[in-house]
């Protein structure tokens, strides 16, 4: 990838991860430039989720998890300081979207307020306006305008996932991580989310794990191909998809294995 480090938002350097001594990611290095989307692709169990969750230190919660190497965000090694307040501040500034939409079993607006109320006190009116703005960004507001105080569980799967994205936006993250955000959704819901990703990219850096080759090609600027815990190939998405350097990647793209 680009070697100019001033534009690098996320720099993963020689990262090795293991669960209870069992390695899951081996010596991974990768740079993600500012305001771009990087796709993680590769067969199941090859360590994509593990590396993704290392970027906001969410794996710290998993018993037996260990990481060596460094991940720099805007030049600072996020593993350089283990204080709880430091880790919490890191997570607060990174939005994360999970594979299964995970709204809380409470009202739509309450879901929107949850992250912001956890960190700030403010006027209800301000929270409300911000929530409406983010719901609009997620293209959800027009659909659910009249039932904002209904339970989030009454939304369809696609709407729930867009609600989760809108909710994550409440804290204005400059970095967002998506772990197979569309794998539980139908094609139309998937397109809506992809459109949103392209919109969000204008001022955010994002990593998306996906099993959908089309999706990786449509939305990402860069692609990293994982195999058995290693990043085998990484580069501009066009190069990776149209000029694979390794036999392995070539076969994977052609759907020879998954």
């Amino acid at each position: 990838m680009d070697n100019t480090s001033k534009n690098i938002a996320i720099r993963i350097k020689n990262v090795t991860c293991s669960y209870g001594g069992k390695p899951a990611v081996r010596n991974a290095s990768l740079d993600v430039p500012q305001n771009s989307i990087c796709a993680f692709i590769g067969p199941s169990g090859c360590g994509k989720t593990t590396l993704l969750r290392s970027v906001n230190r969410l794996n710290d919660l998993t018993e037996g998890f260990a990481l060596s190497g460094s991940i720099e965000i805007n030049g600072e090694n996020i593993y350089g300081n283990d204080a709880a307040s430091h880790v919490e501040a890191l997570r607060r500034n990174i939005g994360m979207i999970f594979q299964q939409p995970n709204p809380l079993p409470t009202g739509i607006l309450k879901n929107m307020y949850m992250p912001i109320k956890a960190h700030y006190t403010g006027e209800k009116k301000y929270f409300y306006e911000k929530a409406v703005e983010k719901l609009k960004t997620a293209g959800l507001y027009d659909e659910i305008e009249h039932r904002l105080d209904r339970t989030a569980l009454s939304l369809s799967g696609g709407q729930q996932q867009r609600l989760c994205i809108a909710r994550a936006l409440m804290l204005e993250p400059k970095i967002m991580l998506f772990d197979e955000p569309c794998s539980a959704l139908d094609p139309i819901a998937t397109y809506k989310i992809e459109d949103m990703l392209l919109e969000l990219k204008k001022e955010r850096t994002m990593i998306i794990v996906t099993h959908n080759m089309e999706q990786a090609r449509r939305v990402s600027d860069y692609t990293a191909f994982f195999y058995q815990g290693e990043i085998v190939e990484a580069g501009r998405t066009n190069d990776v998809f149209f000029n694979p350097k390794t036999e392995l990647l070539d076969q994977y793209i052609r759907g020879r294995f998954s």
Binding site: L90, R91, M114, H119
Partner: protein, 322 residues
């Protein structure tokens, strides 16, 4: 063919029959209680609920001739005793129970929490007379030592005879009894909160305490509320243990006494039935005690309707309503 059809219908018929029997049994219990209570309910009318004086009345009733029974009662002291003991106990139990279940589920090491949970479940199934004994042996002397001084006894002699058996002791013993129920249901509810909800909170940079307070407990709230409702039911209906430590006199709280109200004897409805059951031979006493039972049933019904209404409102506030 015909035979086959009959055989196929047998289980269904059996289920209908059994449900009919259980409904009939419950209905006849109700009818029996209200039938026995009717003389007192009829003679006392509304004043049963708004006047006191049970301790004196029950004695008069005992000595009244069966031909001219004394049937006018005022249960206000008993009703307030029931509501106060269970209300205070429920408040204590909510605080202790939610705190304890949070500690057990979220902070205790796995082995410790497993051990604690088995202890709690054991306590929840302990016969109430054991709690009464523990109350007599530990709570009553402790309350006596801490709060009941000779000076105080003399000062309030005009109102009541102060001892360690009082509203406070009864509420504390009830708390002991309710806490295991609350903890046991709350633990189940907290454990049932999916890991993904916690992860959501952590991913937003919330601290562990924040995740517990803002996500885990709110999501577990229906289960915790169910524990509290069960606990309230147990508190209202508890007779033996409370009768052992309550002082046996239906003193009506008096605002001018303030904290000292807690040191006054009390007599909840269920405990009254136990306390006065030796006098059951008299027709009037019998009717009065069945009236206690009837009022208990009414309170229970009102509270369970109230709990339903509150639940509905909470669900609506939480956005469940549809």
């Amino acid at each position: 063919m015909r035979l086959k059809k009959y055989i196929r219908d047998i289980p269904k018929a059996l289920i209908y029959l059994l449900s009919a029997i259980s409904v009939a049994v419950i209905a006849s219990v109700f009818l029996f209680i209200f039938h026995k209570a009717y003389p007192v309910l009829r003679e006392s009318g509304v004043s049963l609920f708004v006047t006191g004086g049970f301790d004196r009345q029950i004695q008069e009733a005992f000595y009244s001739a069966n031909a001219t029974p004394m049937l006018e009662f005022g249960f206000l002291g008993l009703i307030s005793g029931t509501l106060l003991t269970s209300g205070i106990a429920l408040l204590f139990a909510a605080i202790i129970g939610i705190g304890a279940s949070t500690a057990i589920c979220e902070y205790a090491p796995r082995r410790v929490s497993a051990a604690l949970i088995s202890v709690v479940r054991l306590l929840a199934s302990m016969p109430s007379v054991v709690f009464g004994l523990i109350g007599i042996i530990t709570v009553v002397p402790a309350v006596e030592k801490l709060f009941v001084t000779t000076d105080r006894q003399i000062e309030y002699l005009d109102f009541f005879q102060m001892s360690g058996r009082n509203l406070l002791s009864a509420s504390v013993v009830l708390t002991f009894m309710i806490v295991p129920t609350v903890v046991s249901l709350s633990v189940d509810a907290i454990r049932a909160v999916p890991h993904s909800h916690r992860e959501t909170g952590y991913a937003f940079g919330m601290s562990k305490a924040g995740v517990i307070g803002k996500i885990v407990l709110p999501v577990a709230r229906p289960g915790i509320a169910a524990g509290l409702v069960l606990g309230a039911g147990r508190g209202i209906g508890e007779a033996i243990a409370v009768s052992m430590v309550c002082g046996g006199i239906g003193f009506l709280p008096n605002a001018s006494l303030g904290f000292v109200n807690f040191l006054a004897p009390t007599l909840p409805l269920a405990a009254a039935i136990v306390n006065k059951s030796e006098a059951l031979g008299s027709f009037a006493v019998e009717s009065a005690l069945f009236a206690c039972g009837a009022v208990l049933l009414i309170i229970g019904a009102v509270l369970s309707l109230g709990a339903k209404a509150v639940e509905k409102k909470m669900r609506r506030m939480a956005g469940y309503a549809d």
